[in-house]
């Protein structure tokens, strides 16, 4: 499969990329690792006039301890996040889930920022970012701004990014003693989540004190499960609270599962996520 023709622009800095994007209006796409974009271009679901390649911006590939949070450069590949010792210690749900994306070759090329900016509701990393109340740093012609993960995802492949903005950094909290889990239910032969559940749990006397629960593939964006969170806050135990997992969701029916099946699986994997989070 051969993508449609495009102009190729190699960005030498983030500001250069922003300038190039501004010149093309909404006709251009950013190319980072390309592992979401190339498959769409090969199927000609995406036919951008130009690609602005930011894949060589080494200064956007890092993981840093920023004191009260961890900062991840948007161009850091999954593999480097999965094995990063600081993240394994301070925010292990991110390191763990990065290792759950795709397969080894995909993780060598795919980037954390690319997954988020792409806005696919079947991607794992955005769900974890929502559960963590992460903050994204976005740069445009007017400078930098910060966006809460909860305000970023607007629809399938739609985000808060303007056409001349780029995502530069992800900021995630240090988890301290919080329990965590990412449960991914997927078809044996492929790696997209039929359903994914992220749980970050603050314990209280060995039970759930409060919890953030987020879903993959249960809506047109990654979503928080307010129904499960409220049930837990009102004192329901994990098994009982998980029964609310289908509430407020709007999953698609596709060859991986019907909407009804996905809601049923969300219940199962929410319970497992809560149990695993409490055990950590």
């Amino acid at each position: 499969m051969i993508p449609a023709q495009f102009d190729y622009e190699l960005a030498t800095s983030a500001d250069h990329a922003i300038e190039l994007l501004g010149g093309y209006g909404d006709e251009a796409k950013l190319l980072a690792g390309g592992h979401s974009l190339l498959p769409l271009m090969k199927l000609r679901f995406a036919t951008p006039t130009a690609l602005v390649d930011i894949g060589r911006l080494e200064d956007l590939k890092y993981v840093r301890d920023a004191g009260d949070h961890m900062a991840i450069g948007a161009l850091t590949v999954y593999e480097d996040v999965h094995f990063n010792e600081d993240l394994i210690r301070e925010c292990p749900i991110v390191a763990h889930t990065a290792g759950d994306v795709g397969d080894p070759q995909v993780r060598h090329r795919g980037t954390m920022g690319g997954s988020i900016a792409h806005g696919d509701p079947a991607s794992d990393i955005p769900t974890v970012m929502l559960a963590l109340d992460a903050t994204f740093v976005v740069r445009g012609p007017g400078g930098e701004r910060e966006v809460a993960a909860s305000d970023f995802f607007k629809g399938t492949f739609e985000t808060d990014l303007a056409v001349d903005e780029i995502l530069t950094e992800l900021r995630v909290p240090k988890l301290g003693g919080a329990g965590w889990s990412y449960q991914k239910f997927h078809h044996r032969a492929q790696d997209w989540a039929t359903v994914g559940v992220a749980a970050v749990v603050q314990r209280s006397n060995g039970d759930v004190g409060s919890a953030a629960i987020a879903f993959t593939s249960m809506n047109d964006t990654p979503m928080r499960s307010h129904a499960v969170e409220q049930a837990l806050a009102s004192g329901e135990d994990p098994a009982s609270a998980s029964q609310h997992a289908g509430e407020g969701t709007n999953p698609v029916s596709d060859p991986l599962g019907t909407a009804e099946y996905r809601r049923a699986m969300a219940v199962v994997f929410t319970r497992r996520a809560l149990e695993e989070a409490l055990s950590r």
């Binding site: 023709q5 495009f6 390309g34 090969k42 397969d103 080894p104 070759q105």
Partner: protein, 165 residues
């Protein structure tokens, strides 16, 4: 073509330059541009791993990269495993342990094995299965592929200790 660009990539130790359209996939450049047809196209959808090559030593799927993204970097394809007429240990392992039947997945599997052994010369079965988890084989059931990689690891180790003795 109006928007062709010049790339220069070191392939199996030799620098190769050419004019390519930006939309040229790396696997097409290798196969059709350079005639290196050992890199196979299987699913063409990033699923099967048959097109795996090593980019600066790291396994990547060449159906999911543009050739321009490899400009200035070093690639190893299956044709680069044999050196001076001598099989690479991983090739010998696949031969000795019957690590292939139809052979379609073999170039990718051998490159993954070679890359794994660079980091971990004594991999467990789990390590090997993890390393090849992005690649599909429809013949072997993977069992002999695992054995082939472990055979190669032992051979590399014994050659190293032999050289030191």
């Amino acid at each position: 073509m109006a928007n062709e660009t010049t790339i220069s990539i070191t392939v199996n130790g030799r620098e190769r330059s050419s004019e390519v359209e930006p939309r040229m996939l790396l696997v097409h450049w290798l196969r059709e541009g350079l005639g290196l047809t050992g890199t196979h196209i299987g699913c063409d959808t990033t699923s099967c791993g048959a097109c795996t090559v090593l980019l600066d030593g790291t396994p990547v799927k060449s159906c999911t990269m543009f050739a321009v993204q490899a400009d200035g970097r070093a690639l190893t394809t299956v044709e680069g495993l044999q050196q001076n007429g001598k099989l690479h240990a991983i090739q010998e392992g696949f031969k000795e342990e019957h690590g292939l039947q139809c052979g379609f997945c073999t170039p990718g599997m051998m490159l993954l094995g070679a890359a794994l052994l660079e980091d971990n010369p004594n991999p467990s079965e789990k390590d090997v299965r993890w390393a090849i988890s992005g690649n599909l084989c429809r013949c072997t059931g993977y069992q002999n592929i695992v054995k082939a990689v472990q055979y190669a690891g032992q051979k590399i180790e014994s050659e190293r200790s032999g050289a030191q003795a």
